[in-house]
């Protein structure tokens, strides 16, 4: 598997991620793309900026890929998250998984995106049509200690 940077500031090339998990033993390849939505929680969004604790985010992304690989028996897992300012419809995250069988490909893909959203220190600030910007808190709460 070609190693790809896990955090990027330039637009993500989804096919590059797909190629990174290409393997003649894979009957199924799954590509998940997260994109900036025009509307979130009823508010019109014009763009998003993503920020990260970069060293830790990279470390956590690598850990998630490694956990997925050993848990589901495939080394063909690639993930890339974009940072900086993104417009509507731009891709913020791409996750590609190759596996012999589709059941496992779906399971790995789901595992990676859920873990990413649970523990990778990346934050987003939405830009609204009225000119205001707000950091998004998907939990509405925070707690001490490692996420459970």
């Amino acid at each position: 598997m070609t190693p790809l940077p896990s955090l990027v500031r330039a637009p993500i090339d989804p096919m590059e991620i797909v190629r990174a998990v290409s393997n003649p033993g894979n009957g199924a390849v799954l590509l998940f793309l997260g994109a900036v939505r025009q509307v979130n929680d009823g508010r019109d969004v014009t763009g998003i900026d993503y920020a990260a604790y970069e060293g830790m985010a990279q470390r956590e992304l690598e850990a998630i890929v490694s956990e997925a690989s050993s848990r589901f028996g495939t080394s063909d897992v690639a993930v890339q998250h974009r940072l900086g300012e993104l417009g509507v419809e731009e891709v913020s995250v791409a996750i590609a998984v190759g596996h012999a069988h589709r059941d496992a490909a779906y399971a790995v893909s789901r595992f990676v995106i859920e873990e990413l959203k649970r523990r990778v220190p990346i934050w987003k600030r939405e830009h609204y049509t009225d000119g205001t910007r707000e950091w998004v808190d998907p939990t509405g709460r925070a707690s001490a200690g490692a996420p459970s």
């Binding site: 990346i122 998907p138 001490a144 996420p147």
Partner: protein, 80 residues
């Protein structure tokens, strides 16, 4: 001893800084560090017990902090 505290996103906005050098007694814990932060202006906008990472790993309130450690307050993550 000195530890570097990193702040991000809404927490950086709340405290008006992205990095703070904190002076703490030796053998301090993450919990002690959080108590020390409470006196800063804007700290009332932090949750009672924010997530904390020490040297890029999630840590608990009773994790011990050492000279030169990089400690980060982690706002609720919103990647993806």
């Amino acid at each position: 001893m000195t530890v570097t505290l990193l702040l991000f996103a809404s927490y950086a906005e709340a405290l008006g800084a992205t990095t703070l050098d904190m002076e703490l007694p030796r053998e301090s814990t993450v919990g002690d560090l959080l108590t020390a932060i409470r006196s800063r202006p804007g700290a009332d906008r932090l949750p009672p017990t924010p997530l904390v990472a020490v040297n890029e790993r999630y840590a608990n309130l009773d994790s011990v902090v050492r000279e030169g450690d990089e400690v980060a307050l982690i706002p609720p993550v919103a990647g993806g």
